[in-house]
Subunit: 257 residues, 2 copies
Amino acid sequence: MYALGMEASERVGQLVEALRRDGRVEVARAAVELGAAEMTIRRDLDQLVERGVARRVRGGAVNLLMRGEELPFAMREVEAVEAKRRIAQVVAELIGDGEAVALDSGTTTLETARTLVTRRVTAMPLSLHAATVLSAGAGVRLMMPGGECRPGELAMVGPLTLASIAALRFDTAVLGCCGVSPEGHVMAHDLGDAAVKQALLTSARRSVLALDGAKFGRGALAVVRELSTFDVIVTDASAPASVLAGLRADGVDVRVA
Amino acid sequence: MYALGMEASERVGQLVEALRRDGRVEVARAAVELGAAEMTIRRDLDQLVERGVARRVRGGAVNLLMRGEELPFAMREVEAVEAKRRIAQVVAELIGDGEAVALDSGTTTLETARTLVTRRVTAMPLSLHAATVLSAGAGVRLMMPGGECRPGELAMVGPLTLASIAALRFDTAVLGCCGVSPEGHVMAHDLGDAAVKQALLTSARRSVLALDGAKFGRGALAVVRELSTFDVIVTDASAPASVLAGLRADGVDVRVA
DNA sequence: GCGTACGAACACTAAAAATGTTCGAATCGA
DNA sequence: TCGATTCGAACATTTTTAGTGTTCGTACGC
């Protein structure tokens, strides 16, 4: 009598949601509500602890993330996969054969890497995740920027990264971002990340921003650049129409995947 | 009636051996001799084609590698795994906690990365394979050199790589090599690779060379440096004793794993 | 044109991952 | 200290996945 339990990642997602909503979850309660054994819930919570999302307490776990703080990469990677894939598809279609592309770190751009891997391009990914994906591509000429590799996200940052980017010129830079401020600024997690994004924009002939609709109005620490200065913006149908209309009026090529 | 077929990698290895010996293999014959279905042999050959080792012809496949040419990375990766693991273990024991280590590309050094991943070190791998392994280490501070990423080996080469290395100083550089000439020169596949190895040696306080015994007397194109100038050399019991004795006389710390 | 090799599609097996269960030890609160 | 509860190791079970074998229609080379 094994119930058709929901998939593992979905269950973990529910636990994260409950953590953010209530600040804590109880093992016994969660086991009943999610239709899983208590042992399974404990193992799920172990994962969250390992990823720094929660701290274990007797009977359950409590939230560790600050309000508004971003989820670790491994958790974001399984969220809204379908939307990201559609966006990535549109972005990939913007890239011509043989182009030199710089690929920012993040989950949407990682999905773009998965699309580009079958293509013939020169690619420089800003994260090890994307690099691993692209390294399997027979037609991909792979370049890596130097620098420090941040845990989890596996994004390259630091002076070496900036120097590597400055030494090259790309046809297209595909950026992701963690949010767009209400004032229309593209935002990054921190200054190091913002510096890398700015360097990418400086070294690329054309700039493409890939972001799902949920990013609009979500603030963050560091300003990268004004949204309206991008050449192309690819998003999905959940993006606020008024913002998109404004961008189009500014001459931005806005595409809804 | 499923025979306890030999392991897949072993079967592919036999096919490669036959290819190098006879220049070609036949599907029907190989299926009988290796005790596998023809379809399985075909699938194996597909792999070899994908890796550039063979070309498919009707009824079988023919060799594509030149005499003496090195096997692709994915093939070497499964050869002499035990010896490599032992060597890697000894190399890892040479590394102190918190040290900054540069890790050359290659299969032996990749095994070293697998050993180091549980340690607390700063590591800069010269190949994406090792980078992927090390990125899983909670205690590993990971740096990447910039540069072009060669297919297969996924080794970083080029001016950006040299510049990245030159910007840093390591406590230890762990090098691999593709052969040691009869005159006692450590050799590399090509000039680009040799340049990277030389840069590593320049930027490191201590140099460690990891090589299995089969490398001795095997020539290659590009000279890296004299064998006797390394601080530590880690090899296995199949290395020629006379060479090792000579190195010890020169003051090299020779370890046999 | 004939026989052979090919490869897609499906069946089967084995190995691995995920989940559930049991039970003794550890922890908490009274 | 005692009782109740939670924990997690060890094992059982299930599901998934990767690998292999088989069949059969198609295409290819001689």
